[in-house]
Amino acid sequence: MYAQLVETGLKEVQGRADMSAEEQAFQARIDAGIKIEPKDWMPEAYRKTLVRQMSQHAHSEIVGQLPEGNWVTRAPTLKRKSILLAKIQDEAGHGLYLYSAAETLGVSRDELLDALHAGKAKYSSIFNYPTLSWADIGAIGWLVDGAAIINQIPLCRCSYGPYARAMVRVCKEESFHARQGYDIMIKLAQGSPAQKAMAQDALNRWWWPSLMMFGPSDAESVNSAQSAQWRIKLFSNDELRQRMVDQTVPQAEFLGLTVPDPDLKWHAETGHYEFGAIDWSEFYDVLKGNGPCNRERLRTRVTAWEEGAWFREALVAHADKQTANKAA
């Protein structure tokens, strides 16, 4: 979800018979629930898949600051502004935890950033949607961070040690994000008719993209099956999406808002909500770069990186000078 459609580079899930002795020992450790650490032997496909997944996750955290940044100067009160700034700072922190964890696999930070800036690495589709009103900041915290929590809690138990530890830190901070979002929604939903309409409009626009975050059904996906075998994916996209719908619909009801899905139905016998069909053509279109904000998001990141170059270089020059002075 923050990582969507992660490629493993494999055409079929590796069976025991196809594994070398090293690979069998590796899989046995994963099956026994033993964490894989950076210096341990690992199959090249596992390493590459994790680099893709973790860097995509990190890029999502960093790009995810942009839609929210749009409202920092226009937050309704100083308190809301401080909270939003703290939340955005957390997102930067989450990106940094994840980049560091990815670097333990032998890629450099600059390589990861170059891949993002060149458009080679992906980030979550959700951050290519615009934030048109203050209610969107509420909807993002509530729905987007809510979906992120559902995805990330299982990852705290994933097989790669540094990734799992980064997820523990992220999850501790993430529930603040979801709550501050829902708090904004409560205020608007209990406000004037215009404020309530603004909250409803935000829900209308963010509901389906939030469900798309989990990615299309991966029941048939070789990549997902292999990732499940490696325990870097613990639940299917559909399972996580169902969990999202089940926990979010009652929250919308509490707000007195309507989920924009005429097919939404509660099934007492299964204990789950049934929901309408998702327009996956929109999802693929956004992934291809044709979402409402794809170009603007990437351009903003590239500009920030390029215009900050002189400053990064100056700090290195200063550090080199200090080292030279000390040596002299």
Binding site: W41, Q89, G93, L96, S100, A309, E313, T323
Partner: protein
């Protein structure tokens, strides 16, 4: 493109009386910036009262391949644990 900022490992002491604990890593051009960045990245919620930063390149670590040679010998020395010695129930303060 200029060289990449070096990687630093960050250790935080959460309270007085506890040891510094490894919390993660970050990039910074020098030690002073590493401490500043560590404050922002790892102590936004009062997680610490003290920060250590060490250049990752300066850390010497044991290799997973040496695990048996290093740690196997202590497996057979269970008598190093107090629970190895059963004590009569009526004997107190031991």
């Amino acid at each position: 493109m200029s060289k990449e900022w070096p990687l630093w490992e960050v250790f935080i002491r959460s309270q007085h009386g506890l040891a510094h604990k490894h919390v993660g890593s970050l990039h910074a051009p020098d030690a002073a910036m590493a401490v500043n960045n560590a404050r922002d990245v790892y102590t936004r919620r009062n997680e610490g009262v003290s920060i250590w930063v060490v250049k990752a390149a300066d850390i010497v670590a044991s290799s997973p391949a040496d695990k048996e040679a290093l740690f196997e010998p202590s497996n057979s020395k269970v008598y190093r644990h107090p629970t190895f010695f059963p004590m009569p129930e009526e004997v107190k303060n031991l």
